[in-house]
């Protein structure tokens, strides 16, 4: 059986910062923020993985975003991890144009953690009310 993780590692060997297999079906791969759209495109379109969701976390080092993909044929969850170190003005290229199912979660991370997704087709509030005060991010640890 072909190993999807080896395929990703093979194609992006120079871009992977860290690779960690928690178990046979839980894989974490670290990338720089600017490499995420290209990797996501490969994982979603070429390998046929399903995009589950992204999760953003406010860490002392910066805003960490994980893009969780599932390779359902083998039951593997592959999480692409990236760290945005600029917490004052966090920016990240949007993957919503590649994956329609990512539109909502990018809006959510934008409003809850303040990450500006460049190139998102419709970046507006999803969960919070429209007149939510600008610059207040509920999931930031310092607020």
């Amino acid at each position: 059986m072909e190993n999807v993780v080896e395929k990703i590692e093979g194609k992006f060997s120079d871009k992977i910062l860290k690779s960690y297999e928690k178990s046979a079906v839980r894989i974490y791969l670290d990338f720089k923020p600017e490499d995420i759209p290209e990797v996501a495109q490969f994982v979603f379109k070429d390998l046929g993985c399903r995009f589950i969701i992204a999760s953003g976390t406010d860490t002392p080092a910066g805003i960490e975003i994980l893009y969780h993909f599932s390779y359902d044929q083998q039951g593997k969850v592959i999480s692409l991890r990236t760290l945005i170190t600029d917490k004052k003005n966090p920016q990240m290229a949007s993957i919503a144009k590649i994956i329609k199912g990512a539109e909502w979660i990018e809006r959510e991370i934008w409003e809850l953690l303040g990450v500006n997704f460049i190139g998102h087709p419709d970046l507006r509030h999803l969960l919070l009310i429209d007149d939510w005060p600008a610059g207040k991010y509920p999931l930031r640890k310092d607020q």
Binding site: R50, I53, S70, W104, L127
Partner: protein, 397 residues
């Protein structure tokens, strides 16, 4: 001249599990665009979870949904067990599976009843809910509660299934089997239901993949995914059962998937009751190490996903939750466009988001906001369409 109107659907109803707001743009009879607004019930559970003990979080996430109330704690305990690499006692895995499958049956019956009501089959509604009652009674026998069973616990389950209760549960399954066969016949062989639901609200396989939909919504469009099979948890790899796949992608296919899945669920529960070994039901976990864990389960509506990060204290530092409706509801953007208003109710309800949203439908004139139709009028419109079909079938025969 076309009469362009906006139809707001939602957002509030006391019975809704997830209030949401659909703004349908219609021209004449046809839905030309749809805007989906969510967030009316944003309770900040992810943030709340960061202030609870790991043991309390299971109770917290159980409150996310009142219908599939075991799916969230199930996904959460799976995530925690992945995080801390906990080995769960075998008996607990079987009990978890039984609870999850009983929940699938009662959730699908609830949906079937409401779908029947929306298209004017009130008998289906009454019967489906009548057969849902004994399932809730079984929950009460096992856990003491009809809903919010509080069975899931990191490392095991909170309550055992007593040996003396097993015959009662088996009898309930025996009585449910002919009822499910009846529904199968009543829905799948009824020419009016076929005419009413086939070709309505189609989500193609490619659209299902693009919008990352899950559960019966994906399986009705020919996407072969089911977490129970793909990444087995609980006791799903210890019993034999089939993933139900349909290819048409319409409301009829979604109905068929749910009805056939209930039969598989009955078979899974039966096998679990037979095979369940004796022994401990809890691994008695005291401390959670630092790390991160991912758990996902196949809820009645599709994959429910939890990601938990721990720093070694007794609360999560991050707890991300993705309910199946999060992706399924978004796909209405393609499934509902191009439909007539009388089909919109059942199309939106077909992903099983929260049925009662559709009772909050109203047709307004775009400029004046003058109310043309309310929710009941729209359900009536949907029911009248079925009635017309019924009459035309009667004329033919």
């Amino acid at each position: 001249m076309s009469h362009k109107v906006v139809i707001p659907i939602g957002p509030y109803h006391p019975l809704q599990e997830e209030p949401e707001f659909f703004r349908l743009y219609v021209e004449g009879e046809k839905v030309v665009d749809i805007d989906i607004v969510i967030g009316y019930m944003h309770r900040g559970i992810e943030e709340l979870s960061e202030h609870k003990h790991f043991d309390q979080v299971a109770f917290l996430v159980e409150r996310i949904c009142g219908i599939c109330s075991t799916s969230h704690p199930f996904a959460y305990v799976n995530a925690m067990e992945d995080l801390a690499q906990i080995k769960v006692p075998e008996r607990a895995l079987y009990i978890r599976t039984i609870i999850a499958e009983m929940e699938r049956i009662h959730s699908h019956l609830l949906w079937l009843g409401l779908a029947g009501h929306f298209i004017g089959y009130n008998t289906v509604w009454m019967w489906a809910w009548r057969y849902r009652e004994p399932v809730l009674d079984c929950f009460e026998i096992i856990s003491g509660n009809r809903n919010h069973y509080a069975m899931m616990k990191v490392g095991g389950v909170r309550k055992d299934i007593k040996d003396e209760d097993i015959p009662t549960l088996q009898k309930a399954l025996d009585e449910l089997t002919p009822a499910l066969d009846m529904f199968k016949g009543a829905v799948m062989d009824d020419p009016v239901i076929q005419a009413r639901l086939k070709g309505v609200g189609i989500l193609t396989k490619q659209q299902a993949i693009d919008w990352c939909v899950v559960g019966p919504t994906a399986r009705a469009s020919g996407v072969n995914i089911d977490v129970r099979k793909d990444d087995p948890y609980g006791a799903y790899d210890r019993v034999s059962w089939n993933v139900i796949i349909e290819t048409a992608g319409d409301v009829f296919a979604k109905t068929v998937v749910r009805i056939l899945e209930m039969q598989e669920s009955v078979s899974i529960i039966r096998q679990c009751l037979d095979k369940m070994p004796k022994g401990e039901i809890d691994a008695n976990i005291k401390d959670i190490p630092p790390g991160e864990g991912i758990g996902h389960v196949e809820a009645p509506r599709g994959e429910c996903f939890h990601y938990v990060k721990s720093d070694g204290t007794n609360s999560p530092v991050r707890h991300k939750i993705r309910a199946p409706s999060y992706v399924n509801v978004a796909s209405n953007k393609v499934a509902a466009v191009g439909q007539t208003i009388s089909d919109a109710t059942i199309t939106l309800a077909a992903v099983d988001p929260c049925y009662c949203c559709t009772e909050r439908v109203a047709v307004l004139e775009r400029d004046s906001d003058r109310r043309l139709m309310n929710g009941w009028d729209l359900i009536k419109l949907s029911q009248e369409k079925t009635e017309k079909l019924r009459l035309s079938f009667r004329c033919r025969t």
